[in-house]
Subunit: 200 residues, 2 copies
C-alpha cells in the first residue's frame, strides 16, 4: 500500500540488467520461450514491460542473453570444480555441482527449453553451439572419454527432465516418483525437495 514517497529505487542500468536477466531466467525456465511473456518478466523484475523490451531490443535477444548467461555459469561452475583437482571422483563432483545449479532458478530449465528449439534458425544455432561447448569442455578440459561424457550428459538431461516435470511434487504421494528421484539424484536430493517450497 505504498503510503508515502518511498524513494523510487533507481539503479544503474548494469545492475538492473542483471536483475532482469535473473527474472527472465526464472520465467523462461518455467514457461519456455514462447510461453513466457515480456510482461511476466517485467513484473518479476519489478520494472515496466516496455523497459524490458528496450533494454534487450527484442524478446528473442533477451532469451539469447539468458541462454548465454546460463551457459557461462554452467561452464564457470564446471571449471571451478575442475580447478579443485581432477581425481577419480571428478564426474561425481561435477554432477553434484550441476545439481546445485538448480538453486539458480530456471537456469538449467531455460537451457533445456533452448535445447528443444533446434529448428529455430537463430536460437537453434546458439543452443547447438552452447551444447557443443560443454561437450568440448568435458572431452578436452575435463579429460572425459566419449563414453564418460555420454553418461554424464545423459544423466544431466534426466535431471533436467525430472525437474521440468516437477517430479518432486509427487515425492511424498507416489512411491515410484520417490524411487525415481532417489536413483536419479544420488546426492543433493534434499536440494530438489527444498525447491518445492520456494515455487508457487
Amino acid at each position: 500500500m505504498r503510503t508515502e514517497a518511498e524513494p523510487i529505487p533507481r539503479m544503474r542500468a548494469e545492475d538492473r540488467r542483471e536483475l532482469v536477466l535473473e527474472a527472465a531466467t526464472g520465467v523462461f525456465g518455467e514457461f519456455g520461450y514462447f510461453g513466457a511473456t515480456t510482461d511476466q518478466i517485467a513484473k518479476a523484475a519489478g520494472v515496466s514491460q516496455p523497459y524490458v523490451v528496450r533494454m534487450f531490443g527484442t524478446k528473442e535477444q533477451l532469451f539469447l542473453d539468458v541462454l548465454q548467461r546460463a551457459l557461462d555459469r554452467l561452464l564457470e561452475t564446471f571449471r571451478g570444480v575442475l580447478a579443485q583437482g581432477a581425481g577419480e571422483d571428478l564426474g561425481l563432483r561435477m554432477g553434484t555441482a550441476y545439481v546445485e545449479l538448480l538453486t539458480d532458478r530456471g537456469l538449467l530449465l531455460s537451457l533445456m527449453h533452448g535445447f528443444a528449439m533446434g529448428s529455430d534458425p537463430v536460437i537453434g544455432a546458439v543452443t547447438r553451439d552452447g551444447f557443443l561447448q560443454v561437450y568440448k569442455f568435458l572431452r578436452e578440459e575435463a579429460g572425459f572419454t566419449p563414453e564418460q561424457v555420454r553418461m554424464f550428459i545423459a544423466n544431466g538431461m534426466l535431471v533436467n527432465t525430472l525437474v521440468g516435470l516437477r517430479m518432486s511434487d509427487e515425492y511424498d504421494t507416489n512411491p515410484l516418483a520417490k524411487e525415481c528421484l532417489c536413483v536419479a539424484l544420488p546426492e543433493k536430493l534434499e536440494l530438489v525437495l527444498a525447491l518445492r517450497e520456494s515455487q508457487r
Copy 2:
C-alpha cells in the same frame, strides 16, 4: 492451380482425426505447445483451422491427445519388444526401438516438450503421470533394476535432446557433433541422419 473439380476429399471423422493428430504431433514436436499454432497444424493436415479446433475443443485438449497418443505408441512399442523375449540384451533392443520411434515425426519431441511443462496444472499432471507409467513399465514389466531404469531413461532423454537440437545438422561439419552423435546413438545413427533430408 486446381483447374477442375478434383473431388474434394472427404473422410470419415475418425480417419481425419488421426491425420490431424499426426500433423499436430509433428508441429508440436517442432515448436512446442505455445510455439505451435492451430493454423500451422491445420495447414499441415490439409484442413481449415476452425475444424481443428472444433474436433478437439481446444488447443490444450489437442496437445493432451497428442501426448496420450505418443505415450500409447511408446508403451506399445516397448511391449512389442518385450514380447519378443526378455534376454540379456533387452535394454539394447528397447533402446533401438526407442530410436526407431523417431521416424514417427515429432512423437518423442512432443513428449519432451510436455516434460518441460511440469508447472502447467493440466499438462504437467498428465506428463508426470505418463512419465511414471513408463517408469513403472520398465521396473515392473521389463524387470529393470532402478539403476537400469535410470540409465535407460537418461539415455533416452539424451537422444531427445540431440534430436531436439538437430545436432545431426552439424554431423558433417563439426567433428565434435559427429563424435557426440556416434557415442549417443550406438546403432540407428543412420536413421537420425536420414531424418535430416525429410525436414524442411
